[in-house]
């Protein structure tokens, strides 16, 4: 008997939502409609949206829609309003003050522009603490926030993991048979090209140019899905 898989609990950042909206996979398995990774998010995960992120997304959406055809981004916002689960937390401000003062003692929270990321971390901590969720994954592509406080919070508070959208695509390819190897490759290829997904990590590892860094990023994630493919090929559906 086939069993409905458990859904992953996701707290997602504005930038990752935009990035997923950018990707459009034309290729679909025979007889199936083409998929957008943004819709994978809603189909395969419990998506939790905090108020800050919702506001941030709406604010940015209005800005970018003026300049281009962002039907995917608009569609994502519609789903976000309809299907995004509210985080329903009460102690975000207290947690934020307490833990962020440890990670960013020199910085005034009101001056910092990573409010969305801070709230995601605090709400993840709170929801897991109160057993509203057993654990969760924060998906964010803000490299600066990651190095500034998110990675520390991930290490210090066992709420789950922090991924970027590429990790998210790899995860989906790992757990969802519907996501094909080629679809995962296309999604990764598209995400790697987005300049708002930082390649600094690879520059720190020695890549001298942006192109070289993005190439290294592509290779790393292609290697991951290639490894997963070998395991998928071994295991029954």
């Amino acid at each position: 008997m086939s069993q409905m898989p458990n859904k992953l609990n996701i707290l997602i950042d504005t930038n990752s939502l935009f990035h997923l909206s950018e990707v459009d996979i034309k290729e679909a398995p025979k007889g199936k409609r083409s998929k957008k990774p943004a819709s994978w998010l809603w189909d395969y995960c419990n998506v939790y949206i905090c108020k800050t992120i919702r506001k941030e997304y709406e604010r940015n959406l209005n800005k970018i829609v003026k300049n281009s055809d962002r039907t995917n981004a608009k569609e994502t916002f519609r789903k976000l309003k309809e299907r995004g689960k509210k985080t329903s937390t009460k102690f975000t401000t207290q947690i934020e003050k307490k833990i962020m003062s440890a990670y960013m003692p020199e910085e005034k929270l009101s001056d910092s522009d990573d409010q969305g990321e801070r709230h995601l971390v605090c709400e993840a901590i709170e929801m897991v603490y109160f057993n509203k969720l057993p654990n969760c994954v924060i998906v964010s592509d803000d490299y600066s926030a990651l190095t500034k406080f998110m990675a520390n919070a991930e290490a210090d508070y066992p709420f789950g993991r922090i991924w970027n959208v590429l990790d998210f695509v790899v995860y989906l390819y790992f757990v969802r048979r519907e996501v094909t190897h080629s679809q995962a490759q296309i999604a990764i290829r598209d995400l790697v090209a987005l300049s708002s997904i930082s390649a600094k990590k690879y520059k720190k590892q020695g890549c001298q140019t942006e192109v070289e860094a993005r190439r290294a990023m592509l290779d790393e994630y292609f290697a991951k899905i290639d490894n997963i493919k070998q395991v998928r090929d071994l295991l029954p559906r």
Partner: protein, 374 residues
């Protein structure tokens, strides 16, 4: 030596460039050029190497007709070469590319060939041919007008290569529409290449000439999303498909590892990858090949009557030592750029220490940080 001959930047003056070492790569290029020059068919060549492998140098070097291999008994007219760096911005990449190609070849040169075509074939015949080649009477007419004796008409036509026509201009030039999209633009490039291959500025060419289009840094396509690289690579594919004769496109592609070529399709797009009919993969240099390369670079800048040995200011041993230590410390394979980088620094350091010869002991004093010598 007259100067330190090692430089990080590839030289750009085609006539003054030398080819040093890299014998196997040169042989592959010579074979490819012989095939291209001996046959009419167009070709898409992929040149792939590690970063700093010598691809840009190759483009500059082979852009000089003197550096092309000679074909026995044939005096082919010198090819037209144009080197374009892949646009870094994906938005409007196809338009940027089109603009760069036209500007690199020069619109005046294209116009002069059209003028020559009109005078040789007659105006009516030339217009008919251009309409046929372009598959559009409006695009054909815009090109035809480029070679018009009326300077104002010719200039208005040249403006339409980049801008939309106003109703007044359309009426004046007797066209229904201008150059509207990427397909039109690449059609123009294809027809321009055809004209240039058949007509010189003053006459019909006794024998067709080749057009070499070098596209450097194709790996930059990784910065394009699929919405951007798919139309760009499809436009290039169309250009290849429309230009069946006398065009050779060389795509220079850098990789970190030879394995990267497995994912080439995801960088440049499947449509373009499928059209590649020749691949020139630059081999990594062995110590012996790197020494040969270094020797030949230095040979070119020796003063007359020089007799202190092939590797001077290095000794045979110190050069080997430098290359071996460099490879060991940096864990990088040897490429011309890396060798240039190291040799340039070492020669400058030796000169500033008033050394007349670089021996093993001097090499032992060098510190490698990353791929650099401090």
């Amino acid at each position: 030596m007259t100067h330190n001959p090692f430089s990080l930047m590839p030289g750009q003056a085609p006539g003054k460039l030398i080819w040093a070492g890299l014998g196997k790569t040169k042989k592959k290029f010579d074979e490819t050029f012989r095939e291209i020059l001996a046959s009419e068919a167009s070709k898409l060549v992929l040149n792939a190497s590690r970063w700093g492998g010598g691809k840009t140098h190759s483009a500059n070097y082979f852009s000089s007709p003197d550096n092309l291999p000679k074909i026995d008994g044939r005096t082919a007219p010198p090819p037209i070469s144009c080197i374009i760096v892949t646009p870094k911005e994906g938005a409007d990449a196809a338009y940027e590319f089109y603009k760069k190609v036209l500007e690199s070849i020069s619109i005046e040169k294209i116009a002069a060939s059209i003028k020559s075509m009109r005078s040789i074939l007659s105006d009516t015949e030339a217009l008919k041919s251009l309409n046929d080649w372009a598959g559009s009477s409006d695009i054909g007419r815009i090109l035809w007008l480029l070679g018009d004796d009326d300077v104002e008409m010719a200039f208005s036509a040249s403006e339409l290569l980049f801008n939309k026509p106003t109703a007044t201009v359309r009426k004046k030039l007797k066209i229904r529409r201008g150059v509207e999209d990427t397909t039109d633009r690449f059609k123009i490039l294809s027809v321009a290449f055809k004209i240039l291959s058949e007509y010189d500025e003053n006459s019909t060419l006794a024998q067709t000439r080749k057009v070499f289009l070098w596209i450097d840094e194709v790996e930059s396509l990784i910065l394009y999303t699929s919405k951007q690289y798919v139309p760009f690579s499809q436009a290039l594919r169309e250009l290849i498909d429309m230009s069946k004769k006398n065009l050779a496109i060389f795509m220079n592609f850098s990789f970190t590892d030879l394995d990267d070529l497995r994912t080439l399709e995801f960088i440049i797009g499947g449509a373009l990858k499928d059209r590649i009919n020749t691949r020139i993969i630059f081999d990594e240099l062995t110590i012996q090949e790197a020494k040969e390369y270094t020797k030949e670079v230095m040979k070119n800048s020796r003063v007359e009557g020089f007799n202190k040995g092939d590797f001077y200011p290095f000794t045979d041993g110190s050069l080997t030592q430098l290359l071996e230590t460099g490879m060991k410390k940096t864990k990088l394979p040897l490429t011309p750029r890396l060798i240039n980088k190291w040799c340039e620094v070492v020669i400058n350091k030796a000169a500033s220490n008033s050394k007349t010869e670089i021996d093993d002991s001097f090499i032992f004093t060098l510190r490698f940080i990353g791929d650099e010598i401090m």
